[in-house]
């Protein structure tokens, strides 16, 4: 194994890491917000909203991300009313298309995860909150959201790792992130194994850090699940 080649490959790949991180952060952010809207529609009393959310989740979870991304990147441009609209300068950019399709896709998966989090809330806690007069936003803010989020966190961290992996597809719509650059290096040098190793190390490290951060967050958010301290902490 050629150490010099590995080092130079690593440098080239690390130069593309900010692009991967930008794709990841933006799509998780927007996808998370969209997922909240979708899950709100999914559990709402309105049949139209509920069916829309069901359809959304079915479509975005049932078809491959790549075809969604191509649909947005190649498909939208063929309509005149989009090409001449104010949105076109944004939708022309591959980066915007990639973030848009990643966010739309992860919203479908995350909405299901959040819904299972909501379902895990004990009914009596909601009843208790209602009986002391909480409703609407206050109930959501104080009872539903915190409990659901804590229940959803383990599954959501898996979804977030999936998103890191999904950013690789952006290279197929000409966004030069780590996998795209790795593919170009493989095609130029034919040293598949070395380039793969370097890229794999980057992704594994990134995923490891994200999982650590998520489990730290989970630990911080669930003090009640930890064992009680052996000696009572003196109260001030």
């Amino acid at each position: 194994m050629d150490i010099d080649f590995m080092i130079s490959t690593m440098k080239t790949l690390l130069a593309a890491l900010p692009m991967t991180l930008a794709l990841f952060a933006l799509s998780v952010f927007f996808g998370g917000i969209l997922a909240l809207v979708i899950v709100w529609m999914r559990v709402s009393g309105n049949a139209a909203a509920r069916n829309f959310a069901k359809g959304y989740i079915f479509i975005f979870r049932g078809s491959p991300l790549l075809i969604q991304m191509f649909l947005i990147f190649y498909g939208l441009g063929q309509f005149g009313f989009i090409r001449y609209s104010f949105l076109w300068p944004a939708l022309r950019e591959p980066f915007v298309c990639a973030v848009l399709s990643l966010a739309l896709c992860t919203a479908g998966y995350s909405a299901e995860i959040f819904r299972f989090g909501l379902r895990a809330i004990p009914a009596k806690e909601i009843e208790a909150a209602r009986s002391i007069g909480m409703s609407g936003f206050l109930l959501t803010r104080r009872i539903l959201a915190p409990i659901a989020f804590r229940h959803a966190l383990p599954a959501y961290s898996t979804e977030v790792v999936m998103m890191v992996k999904s950013t690789a597809l952006a290279s197929l719509v000409t966004v030069w992130e780590v996998t795209g650059v790795a593919q170009r290096l493989i095609a130029q040098t034919y040293r598949t194994m070395e380039v793969f190793l370097c890229a794999a190390i980057i992704y594994l490290l990134l995923n490891f850090l994200i999982l650590q951060a998520m489990s730290l967050l989970e630990y911080k958010l669930t003090p009640h699940r930890r064992a009680a301290p052996l000696f009572p902490v003196p109260q001030r």
């Binding site: 079915f58 479509i59 049932g62 078809s63 491959p64 991300l65 790549l66 075809i67 969604q68 191509f70 649909l71 190649y74 498909g75 939208l76 441009g77 063929q78 309509f79 790792v161 890191v164 992996k165 999904s166 950013t167 690789a168 597809l169 290279s171 197929l172 996998t179 790795a182 593919q183 493989i186 095609a187 034919y190 598949t192 194994m193 793969f196 890229a199 794999a200 992704y203 594994l204 995923n207 490891f208």
Partner: protein
């Protein structure tokens, strides 16, 4: 344009959907073999085997699928070329894209299936294994009568999830040029300049594949659990 006949893409798209199914099925089979080996390694007493198994599942679940497909396709091609050169053939030999695709998706699904099998094995009540040992069943008999059937039953929902995942991963195999559903939609879209139409049609065919296979797995689960009491978690 999506009709059948000499100018329609309908027939080609259906053949491509069949190709997607074939790649995924072969990949699932490869993944089942790899997955059971890795699950066995992870459950074994040997520390070396456990480390190997753990590394396999971490790497192939943590690295983008596209990168693994590139590894298998390009790496496999250079390996084949090296073998060809050793046997006296000059020039570049490519790995067939079907084999490369099925192998790559199989390696990925193997990592997920290993976890499914491991979880299913751990779900077997310990008392049953002890009881089997106590009445003198040897290893292979124990596997055949007690472990195998139960692992299979517990694993069906998980395998269903892996199948859905592999079905969607198989779309990435299109980068190697295999004429699967993704690739054919892309070619049709490019040559007719009707991108939106053909990606919608391709996406709908994928939705049909995923929802149809979801039904099959649900009914398989029901059938496998038909002798089980339906009390917990089953609606």
């Amino acid at each position: 344009m999506i009709g059948f006949g000499p100018t329609g893409w309908g027939g080609l798209l259906l053949v491509a959907a069949l190709m997607t199914l074939c790649v995924t099925a072969v990949a699932l089979l490869i993944g089942a073999i790899l997955g059971s080996l890795v699950a066995w390694a992870k459950l074994s007493g040997s520390r070396i085997l456990r480390t190997i198994g753990g590394t396999y599942t971490t790497v192939f679940r943590g690295v983008p699928e596209l990168l693994i497909i590139y590894l298998v396709y390009f790496g496999g091609s250079s390996a084949v070329t090296a073998i060809g050169t050793a046997m006296g053939y000059e020039g570049f030999l490519g790995l067939p894209s079907f084999a490369a695709g099925a192998l790559a998706v199989g390696i990925i699904s193997g990592a997920y299936q290993a976890e499914v099998f491991r979880g299913a094995y751990l779900a077997i009540p310990k008392g049953e294994l002890e009881a089997a040992q106590a009445i003198g069943m040897n290893r292979s008999l124990r596997f055949r009568r007690i472990i195998g059937p139960q692992v299979f039953r517990f694993a069906i929902p998980g395998i269903g999830n892996v199948w859905q995942l592999s079905l969607k991963d198989s779309a990435l195999v299109s980068v190697t040029g295999l004429a699967d559903l993704m690739r054919t939609s892309q070619v049709a879209a490019g040559s007719t300049r009707q991108h939106f139409l053909f990606f919608i049609v391709g996406g709908c065919l994928y939705l049909i594949l995923t929802s149809f296979s979801d039904r099959i797995f649900t009914s398989a689960e029901k059938r496998a659990n038909r002798s089980m009491p339906t009390s917990l978690g089953q609606a």
